[in-house]
């Protein structure tokens, strides 16, 4: 009786969603890939300068005047590429953390990586060494993130004989809280100007995009992406239970270690490049789960594509809505993301 009732109730809902979405996972991936390409083209074509499309194409091809070439090739294109890679990296890391920690509330920053990065960046800004070189803040942020990854792992691994993901989650949250306190302490002693730039860094922005940042993130994202996509099936099994995964032939400890370190480093790289951009890593994997289910063979590549498309759209909006001023991109991700997510939740009938 109790088993039959929900089945009957969800039948029409299931049929309706099925009609609205591509039938196969491959079709969905293709759709998301196209969406990302469109978003990428739009991000390069749209901007405060209001260049006509013809001029953008000419600039891309190496023609046109110097100004439009500089705008398109040195500002918009690297920024769009950085946005797509960061968005993809954050969504992918979020999906991996949700599976690793077996917790739907997990997101890329839940294990303290962003807190560590922020301590590094804010310290560099407040202490005044940020002015020495444009590389100081990213390097300091990366160092802080790596320290956070190491500290959280040490705590989680020391508490049990193997990596206990519940302890890992707890350690991440606690260490993150500690870092937040350190940040507030640093800000207390900051001058007005450095206070402002520290807060802006923490809100996250892609305005610092450069070809070198693009190259650095790409060098890391490619192998990390392949490694994480290869974990799709083991993560599927881990989502059922560690004991079950072990008995189905998964090297559970190895998978957890690889997932933790590779995804954390991915977050560290993206935070170092553009600060803390919230919400993508939580909402994109969830939205995809609601629409197409939780098979990580689909979910991981789809998160990469959808995250990229989403941050491209959000950043284009952030650049143009209040031009010449720029809105914080994290505000846009939340303003677009929350209503879409609420809509998806409301439609869910399982």
């Amino acid at each position: 009786m109790s088993a039959a009732t929900p089945a009957r109730a969800d039948a029409p809902g299931a049929a309706r969603t099925r009609a609205l979405r591509p039938r196969s996972a491959a079709g969905a991936l293709l759709l998301l890939g196209l969406l990302m390409l469109v978003a990428l083209v739009a991000a390069v074509a749209i901007g405060a300068a209001g260049l006509p499309l013809r001029q953008v194409v000419a600039a891309l091809a190496g023609g046109g005047d110097d100004t439009s070439r500089a705008i398109v090739r040195d500002l918009r294109l690297p920024r769009a590429l950085l946005a797509s890679m960061t968005g993809g990296a954050l969504a992918l890391a979020g999906a991996v953390f949700q599976a690793l920690l077996r917790n739907p509330l997990a997101e890329p920053y839940v294990l303290g990586v962003s807190g560590g990065a922020a301590v590094g960046a804010v310290a560099a800004i407040v202490l005044g060494i940020a002015a020495l070189s444009p590389w100081v803040v990213p390097v300091a942020a990366l160092a802080g993130a790596l320290a956070a990854i190491a500290i959280v792992f040490r705590i989680a691994a020391a508490a049990g004989r193997m990596l206990d993901t519940r302890v890992l989650l707890l350690a991440g949250v606690i260490v993150g809280a500690f870092f937040n306190a350190v940040i507030l302490l640093l800000l207390t002693f900051a001058e007005a100007e450095s206070f402002r730039s520290a807060v802006f860094w923490m809100m996250g922005s892609l305005s610092g995009a450069s070809w070198s940042a693009v190259a650095l993130l790409a060098i890391y994202l490619l192998p990390a992406g392949v490694l994480l996509l290869g974990l799709a099936r083991p993560l599927n099994l881990l989502a059922v239970g560690e004991e079950t995964a072990l008995h189905l032939g998964v090297r559970v400890e190895r998978v957890k270690l690889v997932a933790y370190f590779v995804a954390s480093l991915l977050v560290a790289a993206s935070v170092a490049a553009c600060g803390v951009i919230g919400f993508i890593g939580l909402i994109i994997p969830h939205a995809l789960r609601l629409a197409w289910g939780s098979d990580h063979r689909f979910l991981l590549p789809a998160s990469l594509l959808a995250g990229a498309a989403f941050l491209l759209v959000a950043d284009t909006a952030a650049r143009t809505l209040a031009a010449p001023a720029e809105l914080p991109v994290g505000v846009i991700t939340a303003l677009i993301g929350v209503p879409v997510f609420v809509l998806l939740l409301a439609r869910r009938r399982v």
Binding site: P104, H247, G249, G293, D295
Partner: protein, 316 residues
């Protein structure tokens, strides 16, 4: 329970037990254990959990012969689950050695083991909703690894396993919408999709009603009777173990209290000593092929509980 399930089960179970039996034998024939070779062997197993006062396993020997149903019984905390974990290589014993098919468990990789042993753990909690078919298909992981796609043979194995456990009709349902009994059948189907030569179940019928309990014991007995699959199960149901198991291992506080055929193990003296409760042992009245199997009946306490425990306690 839904109408539909009731219908399916009563119609299919007896037929399934007969007609499907040859397939199980054939599927296990390829990788099956050499005739007469023990499945699990272990001697002198000792294991103490960190900060535990007493060892969970305190010198356990075990020898599971191929074929048949091998039941591991014992009171709560007697070491059943720990023994199973050691036999499956999930825990390394502090002393003694456990082997599967004559090879030390430390030498087997998880994947090699998963191609030969299907395990139905006691507890599973899904982190995200999945369908019945998705869960059963996971049984192919040891054969496919991280990248290989499902082939014809894999799809056939998945479907056969679902037919065998009578859950094919539930294939597209979300696991969360199933009853406890249906869910357990689905998990057994996943283990069968591995096409294992040995099937290990940890308390497979805990919290199930009598029909599902009987269904699962009938199913594992049929799998074992076909000669292809060795079944090892941990259970608290002494009486069903007595009816369906070919051998029983009775654990008591980390030691083997008795081992052998049900009638030899389940004597009044042994059961009272191990469980510390007064019992009588009857014969199953039948009808059925297990007529005459020993059946343990626990007696009501005489007066207060302390008196009831008295006769068992003094037997130590």
């Amino acid at each position: 329970m839904s109408e539909r399930r009731d219908h399916g089960v009563t119609a299919d179970v007896p037929a399934v037990a007969g007609s499907e039996a040859p397939r199980a034998a054939a599927s296990a024939g390829a990788g099956g254990p050499a005739a007469g070779r023990s499945v699990f062997t272990a001697s002198g197993l000792r294991f103490t959990y960190p900060r535990a006062a007493a060892p969970a396993l305190d010198g356990v020997d075990i020898d599971v012969p191929p074929g048949g149903v091998y039941a591991i019984l014992g009171p709560n905390g007697s070491g059943k689950s720990t023994l199973l974990k050691v036999l499956l290589g999930a825990l390394a014993p502090q002393a003694g050695e456990a082997c599967y098919a004559g090879r030390a468990l430390a030498v087997w990789t998880p994947r090699e083991l998963a191609r030969r042993i299907g395990v139905v753990p006691q507890h599973e909690e899904l982190a995200f909703p999945i369908t019945v078919r998705e869960l059963v298909a996971m049984g192919r992981y040891p054969h496919l690894g991280n990248w290989r796609r499902e082939g014809e043979a894999d799809r056939a194995a998945i479907e056969q396993a679902m037919i065998r456990c009578d859950v094919l009709g539930l294939a597209d349902r979300s696991l969360a919408t199933l009853s406890g009994g249906e869910r357990q059948l689905v998990r057994i189907a996943r283990a069968l999709a591995q096409e294992p030569e040995t099937l290990v179940l940890d308390e497979p019928t805990a919290a199930l009603d009598i029909r599902h309990e009987m269904e699962i014991f009938e199913l594992v007995a049929a799998l074992a009777a076909a000669g292809g699959v060795t079944v090892v199960l941990v259970t608290h149901n002494i009486n069903l173990a007595a009816r369906y198991a070919s051998r029983i291992l009775l654990l008591d506080r980390g030691r083997v209290a008795a081992e052998g055929e049900p009638a030899a193990v389940l004597t009044r003296e042994t059961v009272e000593r191990v469980y510390r409760w007064p019992v009588v042992v009857e014969r199953h009245p039948g009808p059925g092929r297990d007529e005459g199997a020993p059946q343990v009946v626990a007696l009501a306490g005489e007066g207060d509980r302390g008196d009831g425990r008295g006769s068992g306690g003094s037997a130590e």
